[in-house]
């Protein structure tokens, strides 16, 4: 199936190259606009400057992007000891995807259920919210983690960073240019007079080209960017089905996540494409993206993603996903050349009984992970109350507010290994 990744990579390189050409053309046209077209040097210079800006920004984004994104989203790393089940699920999917290293595991204290992944296959991180841990069953959580591992395996985080920075550079350069033209026209200080007599026609063409590019390039770049983002979401869904051999897990998880209309506090426009469902849409309470400006959306409509996963039937390979995609939308999603030899991937034996999720209990387990991270001491009182003591608690004896039993803090600490 990794042929699909290769095909994807080739497609990505073509798209990045298209965007790069757009960027260089914009830079060149601007150079020509301001410094004349008698010789090609200003145009080349403009293109070089635009390329250099993009290059530097990409270097910064790739070296620091992961840490910045994790910091912005308020994610905190958890150890295997603090969150054994989550770690186990990540490790299971790491094995299923044959990643060279296990991603680090992060938790965000957020009621909104969501998840994202960043990094490269040998150095990645998966982050989930406490809200996600509260409402999903183990199978559903596995489906979501598999989707994120799919992103890591397909190197989506890096690609979207490179593409995103390129879109950003194009937007900024076009913006600065149109502003400078606007103010230049307003205050009359046009440098054009110098060259108005010579090379008239070419000059006019370059002017028009520069203005048209400045207006169109940001829009085009955005459309390319969002189309890439969406096709990568589909591919990550397909990977989730292949890794877990159980598309229903992700399907019902997506259903639950899109059903929860809680805004994700730490999300913003920049981090939005990373999440498993777009956090901004969930927040605005609008439909799941099926309506509105689909072209400018990072994720396909969630209802469609669920429908495709549920149409897959009992074969779960990429070919089966592509077939299901075709049945739902009438198009192909994965390059046809990459679909060989995975016809016989069967859905796994399903867990016999599915217990309904105990949201209360799972909420406690999720918040307890955070309490442990924050260094709380857990005292189970004989009356049934669990007392969670913050590390700043200064007294030595603690009276249970319910039954009045006195607990000695030092003694409890002594009896808890590693506490």
């Amino acid at each position: 199936m990794w042929e699909a990744i290769k095909a994807n990579k080739r497609k990505s390189i073509v798209l990045i190259a298209c965007m790069g050409l757009l960027l260089l053309a914009l830079g060149g046209a601007i150079g020509g606009f301001w410094f004349g077209t008698q010789d090609p040097r200003p145009a080349v210079f403009g293109a070089l400057v635009a390329g250099a800006i993009w290059f530097i920004m990409t270097l910064i984004a790739l070296s620091q992007g992961r840490n910045i994104l994790l910091a912005v989203s308020g994610a905190r790393e958890v150890s295997k000891k603090d969150a054994p089940q989550l770690h186990n699920i990540v490790e299971e999917m790491r094995i299923a995807a044959s990643l060279p290293a296990t991603p680090r595991v992060f938790i965000m204290e957020e009621k909104a259920p969501n998840a994202f992944a960043v990094g490269s296959p040998d150095n990645a991180a998966v982050a989930v919210t406490t809200g996600l841990l509260s409402i999903l069953s183990r199978d559903e959580l596995q489906g979501v983690v598999a989707h994120e591992i799919g992103h890591i395996k397909n190197q989506d985080s890096q690609f979207m960073t490179i593409a995103g920075v390129m879109v950003g550079t194009i937007v900024i350069i076009a913006d600065i240019f149109t502003r400078s033209v606007f103010y230049g026209a307003m205050f009359g200080g046009r440098r054009r007079s110098r060259s108005s007599s010579e090379g008239g026609n070419l000059q006019i063409i370059v002017f028009v080209l520069a203005l048209v590019l400045a207006i169109l390039a940001p829009i085009l770049a955005n459309i390319i960017y969002f189309a890439c983002s969406r096709s990568r979401e589909y591919l990550a869904d397909a990977c989730s089905a292949v890794f877990t051999r159980y598309p229903e897990g992700l399907a019902s998880a997506l259903e639950k996540i899109s059903g929860a209309r809680v805004p994700l506090v730490a999300a913003n426009r920049v981090t939005s494409p990373m999440y498993i469902v777009p956090p901004m849409l969930a927040a605005s309470g609008s439909d799941d993206g099926a309506s509105g400006d689909f072209i400018l959306s990072t994720h396909p409509p969630t209802s469609e993603r669920i429908k495709i996963l549920r149409t897959m039937g009992s074969t779960v390979g990429l070919a089966a996903y592509n077939q299901a995609f075709k049945n739902v939308t009438g198009k192909n999603v994965i390059g046809a050349t990459s679909l060989r030899s995975d016809e016989e991937l069967r859905m796994r034996g399903v867990t016999p009984e599915q217990k309904p999720v105990d949201v209360k209990k799972q909420t406690r387990e999720a918040t307890d992970i955070l309490h442990r991270l924050n260094g709380f001491l857990f005292i189970p009182c004989s009356c049934g109350v669990r007392i969670k003591v913050p590390p700043t608690f200064s007294k030595n004896d603690l009276k249970c507010p319910r039954c009045g039993t006195i607990h000695n803090i030092d003694e409890v600490k002594k009896n808890q290994p590693g506490g």
Binding site: K360, F376, V385, I387, K388, P390, L398, K399, C403
Partner: protein
Amino acid sequence: MLCPECRVEMLVLEHEDIEIDFCDECGGIWLDEGELELLAGENGAPSPVASALASNANAKGKGRRPCPVCSKKMILADIDLGDSASTENRFVEIDKCPKGHGMWFDKGELGQIISASGGGESVIAFLGSLFGSG
């Protein structure tokens, strides 16, 4: 979380899978919005305590305590415990976050809530089973 009254870190108490924050100094409790939701969650009956948090209609003005979540000054509000409560206990004044992050009961208010029978009110029943008759 810091106690809005004493400014010290509160204890967290877990009972029947619900968490509340309890101040060991003054005996007041903080009920978080999420926990109220979990409490009301399954039976679905509109609880007067939980609905008091959702609307600001019964607000009686600004209090002096800050919300432990967002630090905004909390507002004072009356909770109507209904006909089944005795007349002098029918209305309880509590502090609640204007943004709906949760509500604060000081020790006296807590006692008043628990002594009201409340007619199957999930929040009162919970607080009663946690702090009542102890």
